[in-house]
């Protein structure tokens, strides 16, 4: 519409009687074009509205309701909100989620970057190792978790066998998933191992985009490998690192499946995370209102962290 207005204004003084008709038909054509565009977007948007947007809005509303899924929904006001502060499991889940994210994001990032740098070199069997590192990401989580549980089995898993052979006293042996001090470590290790291959591929793409003359210039400037990594690679990978950090953070806040497979949130609440708590409250306790409130907390947590990250990126 604004376009047809401006053309009309531009044609200016020598206006003819034909002008209004022309404007009309142009406007009609524009509407038609828009309709065609919307009709292409519609199927996708409908799906999004029905399966994503609707439930999200519903969950927002539900956070302020009581509902067990079958009986009538009743208004709860801020009940669910106040309940958060008394719910020991929620508080544990909240901090566990923070800890999980705070440890696994930098650790995964470092592993992915390290692997990418190693496997960007011309080493023997490079393609094999690249595939091997990517494999956990595409492998079925269920199968992989079963194997992982076996490997880290406190009594007869190979990891503890090796520790035993290395001379570790059986009394001090980590109990891994069954040990409340080690369960979180186990889950984090699993998460790193599972997703580092994916981010390694992203970093590999980033590395290949770096102008090799920069390394040559650094060579002549007298930089050793570590200094080249620090002063050329890392800054040049800035945008990649930003992307990886955001993706990893969101992924870590939403961690669920590997905990479901390995520890079920236990022992005690030692690996209980927000999404797992949401799942428990919704589908074990059938307290859909309260679980929506937890989901709301998670939503704002992710939003806040992401906004901060985008701000920081813009400053650089």
């Amino acid at each position: 519409m604004s376009m047809s207005n401006s053309t009309a204004a531009a044609s200016g003084a020598p206006a003819t009687a034909r002008r209004p008709a022309k404007t009309m038909s142009r406007r009609r054509r524009q509407v038609q074009n828009a309709l065609v565009a919307y009709s292409f977007i519609a199927p996708n948007f409908l799906g999004f509205a029905v399966f994503t947007l609707g439930p999200i809005l519903f969950a927002f509303v539900l956070a302020f309701m009581h509902w067990d899924g079958s009986n009538a929904i009743t208004f709860a006001g801020l009940d669910n909100f106040w309940r958060l502060f008394e719910d020991k499991a929620f508080i544990a889940a909240f901090w566990n989620t923070i800890i999980y994210t705070a440890v696994s994001v930098p650790a995964t990032l470092a592993c992915a970057l390290g692997l990418a740098v190693l496997l960007n070199q011309k080493i023997f069997g490079r393609d094999f190792f690249r595939t091997a590192m990517f494999f956990p990401y595409v492998a079925s989580l269920v199968a992989v978790a079963v194997v992982w549980n076996m490997i880290f089995n406190p009594e007869m898993g190979p990891v503890n066998m090796i520790l035993y052979t290395l001379g570790l006293d059986p009394k001090d042996m980590p109990g891994w998933a069954a040990d409340r001090h080690w369960a979180m470590v186990t889950v984090i290790l699993f998460g790193i191992w599972k997703s580092m291959g994916y981010y390694m591929v992203i970093y590999l793409a980033g590395l290949q985009g770096i102008n090799s003359e920069l390394y040559e210039a650094a060579d002549l400037d007298g930089a050793n490998s570590w200094q080249k990594f620090l002063y050329v690679t890392v800054p040049q990978l800035g945008p990649t690192t930003f992307f990886v950090t955001v993706m990893l953070t969101i992924q870590s806040f939403k961690v669920f499946d590997q905990i479901y497979m390995i520890t079920q949130g236990g022992p005690g609440t030692s690996t209980l995370v927000l999404v797992y708590h949401i799942y428990n409250e919704a589908f074990i306790s059938w307290d859909l209102g309260y679980s929506s409130m937890i989901a709301l907390v998670l939503f704002f947590l992710v939003l806040a962290v992401t906004v901060v990250q985008f701000r920081r990126q813009k400053e650089d």
Binding site: E216, D219, L220, D221, Q227
Partner: protein, 369 residues
């Protein structure tokens, strides 16, 4: 002291040899320019000197030391890259200071050297900018500055001006020459621009297909090319090459081309010409030696008449380049703008044979030099 010798230097990629047995002695503080067509191995040679490319075979000696296995940073060299290779995330100051920082220079020393270099290059006002906020010419200066601050004994420059426009290139040419005088360092400079080579170099190295063709001062290269490649590569417009035969004339010789007779100057070495009598060879005449009859007082004694047909006249302002045909060959003559010639006209010109070149037809090597 940073004399450099390249002894039978080779670079091979698998079965492919891209640099063949390069022998070159470069004196301390010399300005050496490597020229040659694209892909002839100039950059590869320079990069071997820099230590960025492994030497497949041969020896590289800098300042008396064999440096084949010495890493780049310990060779006392600095390099200016064609695309500048400035660190994009560092300011101009940091870019220049980086090498000194890594070498653990004190903050005061770094500051003094960067300021000094920035002043010489006139980039003091740019020190706090990032490279992406600079023009091509400014980036070029920063790249030079980064090389300068370390006071290296040897500067390596790979087509440093090729990304600049013609005018800026002219200015930078003069500045780099001044810089060389001022810095007292050995310069090795790669270009495929023969004007850069002619104007800046103490000596030029002409390369082709990984082989050195000739090493000499610009003037000698121009006057005494050792083969047809060098003769054709140096000088613009290109030297005219005409197939011809040699015959004896009295106690001298003459070259015959399509019925035209060009007496060879008396200073040509008779012993070298004698074996070619009656044989075909190629004569080379630079365009500036093919022109209208000059006034008698400045005419050379070695003039021979030469008639041709004008195909095209290219006015250059100070002179006109006439594209001609004669005996089925294309030639270029340089005449004064006052010389009137229309397309299709037959014109009577003269050849000044004083600096004429003679080449063997098979080997393409110069018969005279």
């Amino acid at each position: 002291m940073a004399s450099i010798s390249l002894k039978k230097l080779n670079k091979t990629y698998g079965a492919l040899t891209v640099v063949h047995d390069i022998d070159l002695e470069i004196a301390d503080k010399e300005f050496i320019i490597l020229v040659g067509p694209s892909g002839c191995g100039k950059s590869t040679t320079l990069r071997m000197i820099a230590g960025l490319e492994e030497i497949s075979n041969g020896e590289l000696v800098i300042g008396g030391d064999l440096v084949n296995e010495v890493p780049s940073k310990d060779r006392d060299i600095a390099m200016v890259f064609q695309n500048y290779a400035l660190y994009p995330h560092m300011t101009v100051y940091k870019n220049m200071a980086f090498g000194l920082q890594l070498r653990k220079a004190s903050r005061e020393v770094i500051h003094r050297k960067v300021q000094e270099a920035a002043k010489i290059l006139d980039i003091t006002h740019l020190l706090n900018r990032k490279p992406k906020a600079l023009s091509g010419g400014q980036r070029q200066r920063v790249a030079l500055g980064r090389a300068m601050v370390r006071n290296p004994a040897v500067f390596l420059l790979d087509e440093p001006l090729s990304n600049l426009d013609a005018k800026l290139r002219g200015t930078m040419r003069a500045e780099i020459t001044k810089l060389h005088k001022r810095l007292d360092a050995t310069f090795i400079y790669v270009t495929h621009d023969q004007i850069e080579a002619m104007t800046m170099a103490d000596r030029i190295v002409v390369m082709k297909d990984g082989h050195i063709q000739q090493v000499d001062t610009p003037q000698n290269l121009y006057d005494r090319p050792v083969n047809m490649f060098v003769a054709g590569f140096i000088g613009a417009p290109q030297m005219n090459m005409l197939p011809s035969t040699i015959e004896r004339r009295g106690d001298g010789y003459a070259a015959l081309f399509d019925g035209r007779e060009l007496p060879l100057p008396a200073h040509f070495d008779k012993n070298r010409i004698e074996p070619y009598v009656g044989r075909e060879l190629v004569i080379g005449i630079r365009p500036e030696n093919l022109h209208e009859l000059p006034p008698a007082d400045i005419a050379s004694e070695n003039l021979a008449p030469f008639d041709a047909v004008v195909e095209l006249a290219e006015p250059m302002g100070s002179e006109v380049h006439l594209n001609l045909t004669a005996g089925g060959r294309n030639l270029i003559a340089r005449v004064s703008p006052r010389f009137k010639a229309k397309i299709g006209d037959g014109v009577k010109l003269v050849v000044d044979t004083t600096n004429m070149q003679l080449f063997d037809r098979e080997t393409e090597r110069s018969i005279l030099y």
